[in-house]
């Protein structure tokens, strides 16, 4: 490193952080709004399921529309832009260079949020495409695609211009994620919406995409970010580089094939291949367990409870559990019982709210004060958020999984699962409270920054000229 510094003076951390400031704000402010919108919609959907008379008069809020809008707001509104923001910062820090072209992602972030707005509105108005996780009609999905590419290019370029040549495991995960999403999102939209394939192939493409987004992409991003922050926040090195790399390759190799349930109406070879691939996920699962367990041991500091590290740890444990559930769903004995029940919903919600969102919260709480140069307005909210989110995820996901079991064990009867679903609503309520605290902190920070900007500008205009300047 010292030899490196003499050749290319690497930028100091505060300068790198400042160069990411505008893209981070543009992505995260919108994302935190969508996070709250998505959780509110999810709460409405959850209540409607066991109390159908709730908001029954409003056609915009029919159950089917609200569920789709809630999921898309959480995934496309929050998870994706927040991931991109964190990736931008992590890449700049890993490369030890200031972020070039920060205005491109700023423009792209606005395009992205516009796309989400159009997409969500179309769903609520009843113009969804009807494909799970691809409900946004053409107007919205094209904007998302363009915005993602616009962000991915300068971010990948900042990897290319890196001054620190040594690769870190997160590079692999996050670079793959930058390529993975545009590829799978474009393919799925082309084959389902633009030039639809027919019959069996439609279902296959849809489920393939859902798996590639929620399982593969989420895992790449969540693990990439988690593997960056785990050693950073504990002060212990990641154990080990090659385990992490092995996780990357096995995840990319086996992960893409999963997600086609055994009972789905596709030729046996497709569903069999998918289950075999899912069981092979045991390998990356073991890999992450080893990395996680070994990197936590040894001397170092864990920081206080409820800080960024707690979020990241919670997220990684959720990843282990959700992968275990995913594998279980692929085993014939278990899938016969749990397939197409609430259990699958529990798994995907754990992946979204328990895993990726938590890792992102931890990262954002760490990054944002550094990028802006001042602390959160209400730092005590962070601990409260951590507590509420942890409690919320447990009370949201566990009852859903039990509801799935009750359903499967009682011949798909919904009555058996209703009480569990009522409890899950409570969990979602906790999550909503936590998310509100998060959004408040982000928005307050954004407003303070804006205010400071106006103040400096005003001061610059009204300041009397210095005597020295008048003379020259």
């Amino acid at each position: 490193m010292t030899a490196n510094e003499t050749i290319h003076p690497t930028a100091p951390a505060p300068e790198i952080d400042a160069s990411c400031r505008l893209p981070l704000l543009a992505l995260l402010v919108g994302a935190s709004v969508w996070l709250v919108v998505g959780t509110v919609l999810a709460l409405i959907a959850s209540i409607k399921f066991h109390a159908p008379e709730f908001l029954a008069a409003c056609p915009l809020l029919t159950y089917g529309r609200v569920v789709a809008a809630a999921n898309d707001a959480l995934v496309y509104g929050f998870c994706l832009p927040a991931s991109l923001a964190v990736i931008i910062w992590v890449f700049a820090r890993l490369s030890q260079t200031v972020y070039t072209l920060p205005l491109v992602p700023v423009v792209a972030a606005h395009i992205w949020h516009l796309g989400v707005f159009i997409g969500l509105l179309s769903i609520l108005l009843g113009h969804s495409t009807g494909f799970t996780w691809l409900e946004f009609p053409r107007g919205g999905s094209i904007l998302l695609f363009v915005a993602f590419v616009l962000i991915a290019i300068p971010t990948a370029a900042s990897f290319g211009f890196r001054l620190e040549k040594d690769l870190y495991p997160s590079h692999w995960f996050l670079l793959a994620a930058l390529l993975w999403f545009p590829w799978s999102y474009a393919s799925a939209n082309i084959f389902l919406v633009a030039m639809p394939v027919r019959g069996v192939a439609q279902g296959v493409v849809n489920l393939w995409f859902a798996n590639n987004l929620l399982y593969v992409w989420f895992s790449l991003v969540g693990l990439g970010i988690g593997f960056y922050f785990l050693p950073k926040l504990t002060g212990r090195p990641l154990q080990t580089y090659y385990y992490a790399l092995y996780v990357f390759w096995t995840l990319a190799l086996f992960g893409t094939w999963c997600g086609l349930p055994q009972g789905s109406p596709f030729p046996a070879w497709i569903t069999t291949l998918s289950s075999v691939a899912a069981v092979l996920l045991i390998v990356p699962l073991i890999g992450v367990t080893v990395v996680f367990g070994r990197s936590l041991g040894g001397p170092g500091s864990d920081g206080p409870m409820g800080g960024p590290l707690s979020f990241v740890k919670f997220g990684l444990v959720s990843f282990l559990l959700s992968t275990l559930m995913y594998i279980a769903l692929a085993c014939p004995q278990i899938s016969r019982l749990l397939e197409f029940t609430w259990f699958g919903v529990a798994q995907s919600q754990l992946q979204i709210l328990g895993f990726l969102a938590m890792v992102l919260f931890g990262a954002i709480y760490y990054i944002l004060p550094r990028a802006l140069g001042f602390d959160f307005i209400a730092p005590q909210f962070i601990r409260a958020h951590c507590f509420l989110a942890g409690l919320g995820v447990v009370f949201w996901v566990a009852p859903l999984a039990l509801a799935g079991y009750a359903q499967g064990a009682n011949a798909y009867s919904l009555d058996a699962s209703l009480n569990w679903l009522r409890i899950s609503t409570l969990g979602l309520g906790f999550i909503l409270l936590g998310n509100l605290l998060f959004a408040l902190n982000i928005l307050a920070m954004f407003l303070t920054w804006k205010l400071n900007l106006v103040k400096t500008l005003f001061a610059a205009i009204t300041a009397p000229l210095k005597v020295s300047e008048v003379k020259s």
Binding site: P12, V279, V283, G307
Partner: protein, 203 residues
Amino acid sequence: MSADIKSSLPKPPSDPRPEAVRTTLPIWIIVLTLMLLFLGGLYFDNHSGWFQTQVYGPYASVDQLELYQPKSGAAAELARGKVVYEQVCGLCHGADGLGKPGQAPPLAGSEWVMAKGYNRLAHIPLAGLSGNISVAGKDWNMGMAAMGAALPDADLAAVLTYIRTSWGNGASPVPMEDVTKVRAGLGARPQPMSHDMLMTMPE
């Protein structure tokens, strides 16, 4: 800009680039992967139907499909014949083929049904039957309308096959083409058959 962040967040002593230990991967995890791949291959071999697109779960191979799927060929023909018989002929001749006193003569054990050829037999439902006829040693003098005239050839062939091979009747099946031929030979509005007319034609 000021590097001074008065953050209350847990801040590591410094803010370093994270490091990763670079010890080589232990061999056991690679062995485990290969073992799982091998087992996965075996499972795929047993359950996938080897890329045959007509094999859907829960079936695992073309052989299983043939074992459990409804048959085609002779068995399917019989099943079809039974259905048509019970709907069209069974009312008079009885589901058991024993006939009903005062309604219709038996088909089980009837020499007309079990004859070596089925030419005469095929004429009866296509054209109808009237007058004196002896069935299994008993005389009947009634009439039967052309009960099979409205049936498609395939259905009629299946019914005839069914009555020739059921209830202990051990005669040969009736192919559809022969029913087509008989129907063509009869013309549009055939006269009902009588015992004498039947006896003039080949068996």
